[in-house]
Subunit: 369 residues, 2 copies
């Protein structure tokens, strides 16, 4: 499964795997794909350094990348405390009431809220980049708009390609104008922040909009058939995130969450503002329901909502409060029915791709060579 982009990056398969877990990222690269470590959960540069050390030591010399969340617009001198002050008390009370209703215990003294908004702020992203550029990363992806011009320049100077996510052709063209190298076209069915245009429509539209820039298709891809479909739509590769959550290498915070993911069907996700303030696809839970309820207070805009709910999410995860416990995940969660190794997932994707190509050739009246 070779495209111009996969050849350029020197990987065997045009499969790009995004994951917050170092062991998964390294395993994807070892399996012949391109592992991309998500940096948003790292607040301390040293933690990122430790994990990049680990990844670099475990990819057997294969290429890998990093995904940061960096807004193109610089917000000067705004601290987390400034953002905290903008949260209405009614919303804070609603969080307390909801947690009380479900009997969610308090954190023990000294327990940090692990899920912080700070990873979303430019200052933090820049300190992450200072760390990242000490490693031979071949791809720098940005999940939130185009990265700033100086970051693109620095990445290029270090030999890394720059990718950015887009949910519409208009966004994709803005990325192109910002000098990025790869657009990740993220469809409605994807986990995490998504727009409303489905991959079937979005992928070829973005391909046409930014040609000759390469496009990776994201959203709804978890099988070899779906890989073949995305490549038929003009993508130069696929960008998979959700499928790795239930791999044996993943370190999800909770066995209850793994069970919920394995049990969920394709209709059990929702595009909700409950987590960050922007629509993000995730498991539908009692937590998303209360925020999506038209009779409730509704989610605050980004970044307020993320800060508002950070401690609550930490408590829900720590105490595995089943009805409230969720995670960003795409509609392909319906295909995630057993824990498998990353290598088994990659094998399944490549074998399924070959079978889909066989099928399409039979339909086209072309026999297999």
């Amino acid at each position: 499964m070779q495209t111009e982009l996969s050849k350029q990056l020197g990987v065997e398969h045009a499969l790009f795997g995004f994951t917050p877990f170092p062991a998964v990222a390294a395993a994807i690269s070892r399996a012949g794909g391109f592992g991309v470590l998500g940096a948003v959960r790292y607040t301390a540069p040293d933690d990122l350094k430790r994990d990049l050390d680990w990844v670099d030591a475990h990819v057997d010399g294969r290429p890998y990348g990093l995904d940061v969340v960096m807004p193109a617009k610089k917000v000067e001198g705004v601290t987390e405390a400034d953002v905290e002050a903008m949260i209405p008390e009614g919303h804070r009370q609603f969080v307390r009431d909801t947690l009380a209703e479900y009997g969610v215990p308090e954190l023990a003294e000294g327990d940090a809220s692990g899920w912080r908004i700070t990873g979303w702020m430019e200052q933090v992203a820049r300190s992450q980049l200072d760390v990242a550029f000490e490693y031979p990363i071949r791809l720098l992806a940005n999940a939130l708009g185009s990265p700033p011009a100086d970051v693109v320049e620095r990445a290029h100077a270090q030999g890394a390609l720059v990718a950015a996510l887009a949910g519409s052709a208009r966004h994709a063209r803005k990325h192109q104008e910002a000098g990025i190298d790869i657009v990740v076209a993220q469809g409605y069915e994807a986990g995490g922040h998504t727009g409303e245009i489905a991959s079937m429509v979005l992928t070829p539209e973005v391909v046409d909009a930014v040609a000759p820039l390469p496009v990776l298709a994201a959203g709804g891809i978890g099988s070899g058939q779906q890989v073949a479909a995305a490549l038929a739509l003009g993508a130069q590769g696929v960008w998979l995130g959700s499928i790795w959550l239930t791999t044996t290498e993943a370190e999800l915070p909770s066995p209850v969450l793994v069970r919920k993911l394995l049990a969920a069907g394709s209709g059990d996700t929702v595009r909700s503002r409950a987590l960050t303030g922007k629509p993000a696809r995730q498991l539908r839970t009692a937590w998303t329901d209360v925020w999506d309820d038209p009779d409730g207070p509704g989610a605050l805009p980004m970044p307020l909502q993320g800060l508002l709910v950070a401690e609550a999410i930490t408590r829900i995860q720590k105490y595995e409060v089943d009805p409230l416990l969720g995670t960003p995940v795409g509609q392909i969660v319906g295909r995630m029915t057993s824990e498998r190794s990353v290598q088994a997932v990659v094998d399944d994707l490549t074998r399924g791709f070959e079978k889909a190509v066989d099928r399409i050739n039979r339909i086209a009246g072309r026999s297999r060579q």
Copy 2:
């Protein structure tokens, strides 16, 4: 582009085209696809007879089909007047106020409201079937649940296959249990009534759920690349509706509407209950906005909403009231940028399919024979 199903039906391409316009249906069949005439707009059996006469005389002996809207559950003795009586006065006033706000003229005396709910009622669908079975239709599709058992039996006795639309694997299995022959898996991005699962995820899920029944992919398909993608996902053919709306053979009620369709992008549709009471994808207009507004009265459930707005829609269409004027259409409306003949659309689909197969073979490292 040949699948088992297209061979069984004796068509050249596994392209199924759904359309309310007889000239489009006949042209699709003549071009080597399978034309399916939508019957929902026919309230008088004689009108359907007239148009089926025309189609039958213009397909050059090629096969064609009919699409009806028939609920599986029989509602005995309920008339349109009974349903009318269930509509709250507040909603009627909201319709009058909205029409007044946009200066929509009244219908002239004697002008019938052309868009009626009656096509949605079983009594009407049955009288349509009595007409339809006088013609050599090869496919009977039902847009609303599985058709009743006696209808399936009658279709089979006449040599017609029965298809039903499904937005989830669960619905698809119910159709299979009801004895239907083909499932049309209708993704989130499709025009008209849709669920929330996108084609990329829905198609293979439905294929797996009802195997060995053949599945047609619907939603997001308007180019040969998208055809190839749908077939890679395991479909035995594609079901296209929106793409025909801007063909030269289509008889849309208004040039303003044609202009709006040609100008619309993939992000200009919305899944709204404004038209029928069930979520249906359509152009986003001021009309969908007022019904989707959380501060408005909200749409009534089906079939009340359809009956409530029938006259209003007729007036909006007749007087081409631009801000309110819409139509069911899928996200591929972004690709509908010029009026083309049905033959030109089919040629584009088949050529694009071949190019996509070439591309996927290059990626798979298989040279073209």
